[in-house]
């Protein structure tokens, strides 16, 4: 066993495209790093970015958010909402001093098995380079102090 | 110019994306000068789209760019709102810069230059001066000899130039906009 840093990475994916895409990676037996654990959501539109913050606050080193390509959303527009929110969330993280490179936002369709493997591998490599996420207290504290305010900021801007 | 860059330079300097042209030809169909041009406007657009420097240079040396009178007919009708007249202005500037002016068009260029000289000299257009300057440039001394007396008799050819008083300011304009 080597002593390389093994980051903990969560992947929040939609059921219809990326989850199925990752299934295809499996059926195609394409290998990728085992650091990533997939959490299944109905749609990227469902992915609440407070949950991402919580993940960081509790020691995740990186997060992948992935869903259907634009225009292919199973629910027609959920992924657009997700993308819009991501824009806001990104600047918020930036503002908080969290390295936004720790979040990988991508589109993987049900047919893109190989792409999923690439995304996982690239994310693992880049997070590995960034090193363990030790400043997570920052996120945790920020979250604790500002949760209500934050929620308001982010969601109102969605309208 | 670099092969890769002329399309993007046109895009940034003129605001025209040559790839928007889908070669419908409506510009050529309506251009009054198309018959006399070596490359009608839609063909000129196609040449630029190729991103081939040879085609670009052919256009710099073409009659087309000098024959375009900026009437805006093409722009008015182009379904893609491609500003060909402005593109032609740009190509002319480039052609002057690269000294690749079409031989047959030298009269047109001479006229423009004589015109500007006249304005530079007096601040206003002085027709006798203009024609004299043009003739000096083209050595086309006999042209329009028959029309001048009639113009003169109808009071359309002042003998003395009208002059702008603030010559200094005019001089600044010319020197500061020179490239």
């Amino acid at each position: 066993m080597n002593n390389e840093f093994e980051p903990k990475i969560l992947a929040f994916v939609c059921n219809w495209c990326t989850y199925a895409g990752a299934d295809l990676t499996g059926t195609s037996r394409i290998k990728y790093a085992s650091n990533v654990k997939i959490v299944r959501f109905p749609c990227t539109g469902r992915i609440d970015f407070m949950l991402l913050l919580k993940a960081f606050a509790n020691g995740s080193d990186g997060v992948i958010v992935s869903g259907c390509h634009p225009n292919d959303c199973h629910y027609t527009s959920g992924n657009f909402h997700a993308r819009r929110r991501w824009m806001l969330f990104r600047s918020l993280l930036d503002f908080m001093g969290i390295d936004i490179r720790r979040i990988q936002f991508s589109w993987v369709s049900a047919a893109e098995g190989a792409k999923w493997a690439d995304i996982v591998n690239e994310t693992v490599a880049s997070i590995r380079e960034l090193g363990p996420y030790t400043e997570y207290r920052k996120a945790a504290d920020f979250l604790a102090d500002n949760e209500a305010e934050l929620a308001k900021e982010m969601e109102v801007n969605n309208g | 110019m670099e092969k890769e860059s002329y399309i993007s330079e046109i895009r940034s300097k003129v605001g025209v994306n040559v790839n928007k042209c889908y070669q419908c030809g409506k510009c050529s169909a309506g251009c009054a000068l198309a018959d006399d041009m070596d490359y009608p406007p839609s063909l000129a657009m196609r040449m630029l789209q190729t991103n081939d420097i040879a085609n670009y240079n052919s256009l710099l040396q073409s009659e087309t760019i000098w024959l375009c009178v900026s009437c805006q007919n093409c722009l008015t009708r182009c379904p893609m709102e491609i500003d060909i007249p402005q593109l032609m202005d740009y190509m002319r500037e480039k052609s002057l810069e690269k000294k690749s002016i079409n031989k047959k068009s030298s009269q047109i260029v001479s006229f423009h230059k004589a015109f500007i000289d006249s304005v530079k000299f007096t601040g206003r257009l002085y027709e006798i001066g203009l024609v004299a300057g043009y003739k000096a440039r083209t050595l086309n001394l006999l042209q329009d000899m028959n029309i001048a007396p009639k113009m003169f008799s109808k009071g359309k050819l002042p003998i003395l130039p009208e002059m702008v008083e603030d010559k200094k300011q005019m001089a600044t304009i010319f020197s500061r906009t020179k490239k």
Partner: protein, 281 residues
């Protein structure tokens, strides 16, 4: 009433009758057109063919001078000058950087708020309403109105009339009693600035225009641009030799036609200065 006036070079030379008839017409309606102090040439086609910045700076000086004279509105009878001034003001208003640069070259402030009127707009705004009551000698002739290219374009900046089938001149002509006919060459190019350098082209393009007018039995071609007028009128010998015909349809300025209708004399509107003389009037 007093309004600013930019004659431009041609109205001082080749097209002095245009200036003369415009001023006379204004006067007949109690309007004084005051020339902009120390104006310069707008650069016409030549400048923008050769040098974009120069093409902005020359008209900009005119605009700045008008502003300095305290004018808020200027009348520009020459369609080419009108086009240059309007486009320049529009482009400078869009591009603040260029505007500052030009203003700095000129060492003059430039607000960019000037109202620039061509002859048609001027007539529409100040004269049209009173025109019918002033007509003493209806201009009962079959005419075609020739707008040329520069009067109506570019549409997005000039926002003038219907760009393909403009009507404003036709309407004015009808109001002074003329029969303004539909024809095929309202906005086709006459060869513009090629009068001297490529007379062959002007003969051909203007030839088509003159021929269509004459085919349809027009007694006059009505214009509002000195360049159009001189191409169609002064170049008639070349046109006729190109067409191998002898067309004698006169080319009149709209200000001359209206002037005659409201009772100005031939001399007052400078009718004698036309090369192809009208047989009527």
């Amino acid at each position: 009433m007093e309004i600013g006036f930019y004659p431009g070079c041609s109205l001082k030379g080749t097209s002095s009758e245009y200036a003369q008839s415009t001023l006379a017409l204004a006067k007949a309606f109690d309007i004084k057109l005051k020339e902009i102090t120390d104006w310069n040439c707008c650069g016409a086609t030549a400048a923008h063919n050769l040098n974009h910045e120069l093409a902005m700076a020359l008209p900009a000086r005119v605009l700045a001078l008008a502003e300095k004279d305290g004018m808020t509105e200027i009348v520009v009878p020459c369609a080419a000058c009108y086009n240059r001034l309007t486009v320049t003001q529009h482009e400078l208003n869009q591009d603040k950087e260029l505007k500052n640069k030009v203003s700095e070259i000129l060492k003059m402030p430039l607000s960019g708020n000037l109202q620039i009127l061509n002859v048609m707009q001027f007539i529409d705004k100040y004269i049209a309403d009173k025109i019918e009551e002033k007509v003493v000698k209806p201009f009962d002739r079959k005419v075609v109105c020739y707008y040329g290219c520069l009067l109506v374009r570019p549409q997005n900046i000039l926002k003038f009339d219907r760009l393909e089938d403009p009507q404003s001149m036709d309407i004015l002509m009808e109001r002074i009693g003329a029969n303004s006919m539909d024809w095929g060459y309202k906005t086709e190019c006459c060869g513009a600035g090629f009068s001297v350098s490529r007379t062959d082209i002007v003969a051909k393009l203007s030839g088509k225009i003159v021929k269509d007018a004459s085919d349809r039995g027009a007694e006059a071609i009505i214009v509002a641009c000195p360049m159009c007028q001189s191409n169609l009128d002064m170049r008639r010998p070349q046109i006729n030799s190109y067409l191998q015909m002898n067309i004698q349809t006169p080319v009149m300025y709209i200000t001359q036609a209206i002037g005659l209708a409201v009772g100005l004399s031939k001399e007052e509107v400078g009718l004698k200065k036309l090369f192809v003389a009208p047989t009527f009037a």
